[in-house]
């Protein structure tokens, strides 16, 4: 049920929830969202639901105390409260990350970092006075736990869901209330069907290609297949995560929230830094607002900027996994961004195509580092990508043709969707009967594949 592409979610949880949500008076919707999300989370994370509940209460309590803090030394005490609760949240995250790494991967609660990040952002926004109104318990609880986001993001801000900037009508402050409508459900379903198709019809199919390469063993793949694998894995990761984010955004839309955009055509970016403004954008902006800028951002001279960038990317690496390859991945990206920002900036501005080449060539290589946790194996894969350092063992020179013959439709569809115009056209023309028929087909073919395969949960779940 925890998997958006699973039949139980699509045909049981979601419709039942939506029907109740539709008919319940709007004042109870936050409470219902909280309750439904707890059931949703418990179905996938079992006992960890108590951890989530504990963190919800604790964070709400601290938020309340910060809000109502009386007295002269208000600012100082608020600051202490903020530091205390963030320390608790970070500690929980670190402890479970370490437990998962040292003992067993299953000790990492589902979606832990996503809801912890939301809690930190909640506390920081509250402290910085960015909330226009005191959040109620059900609002805060629904925000922390809401099922479209609890397992895998996107990391929405509290103000995006509640307390959007108020409008003044006749000197009275009016907050836009969240409403549901057929229109929103239809739009949400459009995004959901698109995301489902990306996940099931592209990412899961390409996932098999990567499994094949792992099965063969990296030392025995031909160089063309190594590159095909790098591209295939990059596309798999992209459509797995983008598809998930579209489904999450679509469900949010059905519930009356605004659409949270998490991927903004990253492969059309004009450089690595730009890529990461567009890839998992809510995580990038979270790091920017709550780590990079508090550290001083880019205001304190070149050395500080480089230090801050490297720190953010080191943290990003750690966040994705504790093994060395993720640290290398983060550091390499940090270095590439520093390189772009300080060394070749002029060149990139003069010849933008170089930036695009950076994205389409270097990014897949960084995903290879991301994919292979064993450093020795990683070295072997790179020696196959760049075969100047050694030859393979038992290489079948026909392997590229074989796998290209099987996977070209999925690769082609993936590459096509990397070009913004195709996706934008679908969204723009979503009321066109041809597009509706296409999405209907995508939806049901995806359900067909989900029915016959055991179901392959999202790759990002344990992060």
């Amino acid at each position: 049920m925890i998997n958006f592409a699973g039949l139980e979610f699509i045909f049981r949880f979601l419709p039942i929830f939506m029907i109740i949500y539709w008919f319940i008076p709007s004042g109870y919707r936050d409470a219902l969202l909280f309750l439904g999300s707890i059931i949703f989370y418990a179905s996938g994370a079992h006992l960890f639901v108590f951890l989530l509940l504990g963190l919800v209460f604790l964070n709400y309590l601290f938020g309340e105390m910060v809000w109502v803090m009386p007295g002269r030394r208000r600012k100082v005490q608020q600051r202490q409260m903020l530091i205390a609760i963030i320390a608790v949240d970070v500690l929980v995250l670190v402890v479970f990350k370490v437990l998962a790494l040292k003992i067993r991967a299953s000790l990492l609660p589902l979606g832990l970092s996503f809801y912890i990040f939301k809690m930190i952002s909640y506390q920081a926004d509250l402290y910085l006075g960015q909330m226009h109104k005191r959040p109620s318990f059900t609002q805060a609880a629904a925000y922390f736990t809401m099922f479209p986001q609890v397992a895998q993001g996107p990391i929405m801000r509290f103000s995006q869901g509640w307390l959007e900037k108020p409008t003044n009508i006749r000197r009275q402050t009016v907050y836009a209330e969240r409403t549901v409508s057929l229109q929103k459900i239809e739009d949400g379903l459009t995004f959901f069907a698109m995301g489902l198709g990306m996940k099931v019809l592209i990412a899961d199919r390409l996932g098999i290609l990567w499994n094949e390469i792992v099965k063969i063993g990296f030392e025995s793949i031909s160089t063309p297949l190594a590159w095909l694998g790098a591209v295939g894995y990059s596309l798999e990761l992209y459509f797995d995560f983008w598809g998930y984010s579209l489904m999450a955004g679509g469900i949010g839309l059905m519930l009356g929230f605004r659409f949270i955009q998490n991927f903004i055509h990253p492969y059309a970016a004009c450089g690595i830094a730009d890529f990461y403004r567009r890839w998992h954008a809510t995580l990038g902006s979270w790091f920017r607002d709550y780590v990079y800028i508090p550290l001083g951002g880019s205001r304190r001279g070149t050395a500080a900027v480089i230090r801050n960038l490297m720190l953010v990317w080191l943290l990003t690496g750690f966040w994705h996994g504790g093994t060395l390859n993720f640290i290398i991945w983060g550091v390499v990206l940090g270095l590439l961004i520093v390189w772009e920002k300080f060394v070749v900036r002029g060149l990139l501005e003069a010849v933008p195509v170089i930036g695009h080449l950076h994205v389409v060539i270097l990014i897949p290589l960084t995903w290879v580092i991301f994919a292979i946790t064993d450093l020795k194996e990683l070295g072997v894969y790179f020696s196959r990508l760049f075969p100047f350092f050694g030859t393979g063992v038992a290489v079948n020179p026909g392997d590229f043709a074989k796998y290209m013959g099987i996977y070209w439709p999925f690769l082609a569809a993936g590459i096509l969707l990397c070009v913004p115009i195709f996706y934008n056209l679908l969204i723009w023309k979503r009321r066109n009967p041809i597009v509706i028929a296409f999405l209907l087909l995508v939806f049901w073919v995806s359900v067909y594949f989900a029915s016959i395969s055991a179901g392959n949960p999202f790759m990002y779940f344990s992060f």
Binding site: L7, E8, F11, R12, L182, Q183, I185, E186, L189, T190, A193, N211, I213, V214, K215, I216, G217, F218, E219, S220, I221, V393, A394, V395, N396, P433, I436, L439, L440, F443, W444, V447, Y448, A450, S451, I452
Partner: protein, 430 residues
Amino acid sequence: MLTVLKRIFRRAPLLVLILLIWLVLTVLALIGRGRAYREYSTQHGRIPALSLVMRGIHDHIYPWSEAPGRAAADADGKEPKGAAEDGTGTADAAGTDKQDTADAQKTADSAQIQDGLLQTPSESPKSPAQPAEPVSLTIPESSCSKVVGAKDYGVADKSYLSPDDTVYNTDKEGLFAPDGTYYSLQEVDDSYFADALMIGDSRTVGLYEYGDMADVTSFLARESSTIYDLFKDDEKMEYTPRGKKSTERTLKDLLKKAKFSKIYISVGVNELGVPDTKDYYNEFREVIKKINKLQPDAIIYIQGIMHVSKKMSSSDPVYNNKAIVQRNKAISTLANGRSIFYIDMNADLCDENGDLKQDLTGDGIHLKASACELWHKFLRKNAIVIPAAAGAEPAGQSPAGQTPAGQTPAAEEPAAEAPAGQTPAGRQTE
């Protein structure tokens, strides 16, 4: 009412169409539930009904299909299954000896399992009424490989396993034993495989692609094929005759048209998700019977299921070595040391805990390309050579004391005729 629906449709066409199709599929699923989809009955209630229709489309079964192809295929196998379970059929032939066999198997551990007691072929069918001295024979050590045990990490899902004291009745003597001679596994060169056929799943596909055997022998393999699929009429597999281009063939069709002297079967990992071992064993026995019928002179090699890596085995409730060892123990009892042999390469590929060595596998289930040569080597080292001419020195003999004393291979010649008389008796179970 209609105008309301029209308005809804105009505002949310995708939603309406999805709901409509959902409704239709659910109705179809409910119609077909009792009949066409009864095969999928274990899933009722756990997943939405419409997935029955989807799975049906995949298996070419539709709600209006009266007798689904799969159920029909299964019906073939059901009778003997039932016969085996209630102890009639071949068990009669075994007489009192059957009890011994059962007892022996109950106490047998992984190392001894294929040493299960075996009755001489000439015994009961000739004189069913006469409770003659049951002669127990043990297949000599070197005839079949031993089942390689493995560490139990305690993750196995019990519903896929048979209870520990399950007895796999050894009806092989009535079916397959051509003579009283046992043969030993010995080393051969690649020319041995020229008239062999390798049947298998994705692992065998790997052997074909990376085991340096494509020019040496013939393959009939397909990814994710199972013992249940092998004789299905619509299960076409990739047939690659030695060094030639591949075509799509079914096993039945191929065995009818081409002759092979050695047939290797390597399946089993995909079936781990199908309960349970007893069922797997029964199906395997049926497959061997059918192969034996089509190619009576071929040596049949049952290849033990290769173990998985520790990482996989210690975490996966289905794909783990406990389940694999249980299945290997079961199918190893189908060997008779005369024309059907059990060979198990796990000893060459696994560590001391019986886990597939990590450096030999990428995904924990398949041999890496660079390790497929080890499988090829294993096959070369563990072959059976049956002398062509009658009376020629067999490669190995039954140890003295286990066959009536003083018998030479030549003296056993008449005994070789006994199974001919016995085979029909054995087949009565079908």
